[in-house]
């Protein structure tokens, strides 16, 4: 028999919250970005799984995942560009140090 859908979803949940944990606890911006990728990935899995198990005839979920991957790529590229730029300026990429415009 096939694997029940819920298994996939639990995996993605764990992945998502691992991402959440990382995002909250890490100071390094690259690590935060990596955590974001984890979360995105978890969501992507969910899209695909729901599509496959609940509406097998449609393909919205998959297409959405496709777009999400594309956007993730774009986002990462920009984010990394910004991070590197920041690094060039302050030789550091900890999120807490970026408070020049606070308040």
């Amino acid at each position: 028999m096939e694997t029940p859908m819920i298994y996939y979803i639990i995996i993605s949940t764990i992945m998502f919250f691992a991402g959440v944990y990382g995002f909250i606890t890490r100071k390094n911006m690259l690590m935060m970005l990596i955590s974001i990728e984890l979360m995105l990935n978890a969501v992507d899995i969910n899209f695909a799984v729901f599509n496959r198990y609940l509406y097998p005839d449609a393909m919205e979920g998959m297409i959405f995942t496709l777009f999400a991957i594309g956007i993730a790529a774009a986002e990462t590229a920009i984010a990394i560009a910004i991070i590197i730029n920041i690094f060039r300026h302050i030789r550091n990429i900890d999120a807490e140090n970026l408070d020049d415009m606070k308040y």
Binding site: V20, I24, A95, D99, Y103
Partner: protein, 635 residues
């Protein structure tokens, strides 16, 4: 008699003309213009008086005439302020008095104020005052009277403060205005109460049916007195303030800081008798509340004695005259207080009061103008700088003596007749007050002759640096005219014109009263002669023997100090300052506190907006989870 409106409009025009042009006119021009205006006014007033008193009597009375009446401001359907001219015996009499004295003062000032800075302004203010005072006496309604009442207050303020660089003059003017304002508050409230019940301001309506107020306020009482009595007592308070009745008299002696002719005009002859005039005007109303009249008697009698005692020891000649004025006005008040309108005999006081008002205005103006001439000559107000002046200033001396004899009550001068009527009236009513007032009359003779001897006899001080000389003609002519009036005014059959119910009253002297008063006046005069004819040690010794009384009287029984204490220590320190403090610290503090609390709270919660995306994410997710849990629990 519409032409009487000139009496008001002309001084008004003069005021505007002189006030607006001010220094563009030469002083001489301004003085002459002002005086000319006053001459015309006087002429018109005399014509009016002549015409009024020669008209046929109706039912034995001279009927009141409303020469002109214009609605100025309408409040409600029945309450409105009119401006108009109401002529009846007393207002016509007042017109004559005011224009006469005012004209004298106008002429006199040409000499007295010569060369002063602000000469034009002085004449402008004099015109303003004349206008207001004339408007006051011809008022057709109580509110018009109040309007001009305020205006005379202001002109008095302006004239007392004429030498505005002198701090004493400034504070005296302020004091005069505020004290009278306080009294006017009573007047105003009285008017309000009166008009609330009677629904009219009009004198004619008010006095025609004086009982209305009693019926309208039936049953209404406050602190044990009827509301009608309160209303009239409050109105009397206004009169007491203007007429410097104890304890509202404190402004008048200080008001002597103003130029002397002003003192003669405002603070001796005209404005200060406004209170008496007010009571006389509303006399029928007062008669329905006899308790108020009794109150007036007491206030008047106390004031008369008080002022007479104080006058005995003052050293500033104008102060002596000021206290003498207070005392004399108190005589008029007492006379009104003892009068009743039941019949001519009971109403003798009313006539006597008006008569005394008339004669007093003349001789007191004369005294002040004489004092002005003396001050002009010796450049000081203090008795110590005077003495033996009879040789230097013969005209002033004679006229001053005439006035002194008049005020002391020596026949045949005018004061004797009027004062005698007052004493008779008081005696008729109550023996106690009669004796009281007779004693005061004796004191009057004493202090007036003390003044006279100290100025004209006593011993010559050192005049070497500046020899006194007789005043110029512009000043002596008014003195002579007034002295002449003083000599003959007593023979005017005053009762024919003015009496309580308008019926002619034949003045006849009560021999007992007349004799007593002459004797007591002579005693006073001889005492003064004995003490002050030549420089000697007796006055000093007497003062020493009654040191406490003397000092107290010299300090006017510390009434001023009490006022000073009340105003500064109580009203300013205990009301104004705390309120100002309360406003700045409590009310404003509350507002500022609200602002500070807001700022503080936002400073605190600003920490939540740390800018750390991780905290945001944590809070966001935690919140989402909480909501999820709640949702799951609920559904």
């Amino acid at each position: 008699m519409e032409y009487t409106v000139i009496i008001l409009l002309l001084p008004m025009a003069m005021f505007l003309l002189l006030g607006l042009l001010d220094s563009k006119l030469s002083p001489r021009m301004a003085g002459i213009l002002g005086t000319l205006g006053m001459i015309v006014c006087t002429a018109v007033a005399y014509t009016t008086a002549y015409q009024y008193f020669t008209q046929p009597r109706i039912d034995g009375e001279f009927p009141p005439v409303t020469a002109i009446n214009i609605e100025w401001l309408r409040f409600t359907d029945f309450l409105h302020i009119d401006l108009g001219i109401y002529l009846d015996p007393i207002s016509v009499m007042m017109l004559v008095v005011i224009t006469t004295v005012s004209l004298m003062v106008h002429i006199y000032s040409l000499g007295y104020m010569h060369g002063e800075i602000g000469f034009q302004r002085y004449y402008a203010f004099l015109s303003l005052f004349s206008m207001s005072m004339l408007g006051l006496v011809v008022a057709t309604n109580i509110f018009q009277m109040y309007i001009f009442w305020e205006l005379v207050g202001v002109s008095s303020y302006l004239l007392i403060g004429f030498y505005y660089t002198k701090p004493e003059a400034v504070s005296a003017s302020k004091k005069a205005f505020i004290v009278t304002r306080f009294a006017d508050l009573g007047f105003l409230i009285g008017i309000l109460i009166l008009s609330f019940y009677t629904k009219t301001f009009d004198f004619a309506t008010l006095t025609a049916a004086p009982g209305t107020i009693i019926t309208e306020t039936a049953g209404a009482s406050f602190l044990g007195c009827s509301v009608a009595a309160w209303a009239l007592a409050l109105i009397f308070m206004g009169g007491a303030g203007k007429s410097a009745m104890f304890p509202l008299h404190i402004w008048l002696p200080d008001a002597m800081e103003g130029p002397t002719p002003v003192s003669a005009l405002i603070h001796a002859a005209t404005m200060v008798v406004a209170g008496v005039y007010l009571v006389a005007r509303l006399f029928p109303l007062f008669c329905v509340t006899p308790e108020v009249l009794d109150f007036i008697t007491v206030v008047g009698a106390v004031t008369a004695l008080y002022a007479a005692i104080v006058a005995c020891v003052q050293s500033d000649i104008k102060r002596v005259l000021a206290f003498s004025t207070i005392s004399q006005i108190a005589f008029m008040m007492v006379a009104l207080g003892v009068a009743r309108d039941t019949d001519l005999h009971a109403g003798l006081g009313y006539m006597a009061s008006m008569f005394h008002l008339f004669t007093h205005a003349m001789f007191k103006a004369l005294l002040f103008l004489g004092a002005g001439a003396i001050i002009h000559a010796v450049h000081s107000n203090e008795m110590t700088a005077m003495g033996g002046l009879r040789k230097y200033m013969p005209i002033t001396h004679i006229t001053f003596l005439i006035a002194c004899l008049a005020i002391a009550g020596i026949p045949p001068f005018s004061g004797f007749f009027s004062k005698d009527e007052i004493l008779t009236a008081v005696m008729n009513k109550s023996l106690f007050w009669g004796i009281w007032m007779t004693v005061v009359a004796g004191l009057t003779a004493f202090y007036m002759f003390r003044l006279y001897y100290r100025i004209f006899w006593w011993n010559k001080p050192d005049y070497s640096h500046h020899t006194p000389h007789e005043a110029p003609l512009t000043m002596t002519i008014p003195l002579i005219i007034l002295a002449a009036i003083t000599c003959v005014a007593g023979f005017i059959p005053f009762g024919e014109f003015v009496s309580v119910n308008g019926q002619p009253y034949h003045i006849h002297l009560d021999p007992t009263v007349a004799t007593t008063s002459i004797i007591i006046a002579l005693i006073g005069i001889s005492l003064a002669t004995w003490l002050f004819l030549k420089e000697n040690k007796k006055p000093g010794a007497m003062a020493d023997s009654m040191r406490t009384l003397y000092t107290a009287a010299y300090h006017r029984f510390y009434i001023d100090e009490i006022y000073q204490f009340v105003t500064h220590k109580i009203i300013f320190a205990l009301i104004c300052r705390p309120i100002a403090w309360f406003d700045r610290h409590i009310i404003d503090g509350t507002m500022n506190m609200l602002a500070n609390v807001t700022q503080g709270v936002s400073a605190r919660i600003k920490g939540l907006q740390s800018g750390y995306i991780q905290s945001y994410a944590w809070i966001f997710l935690a919140g989402a989870l909480v909501i999820a849990i709640i949702t799951m629990c609920c559904f």
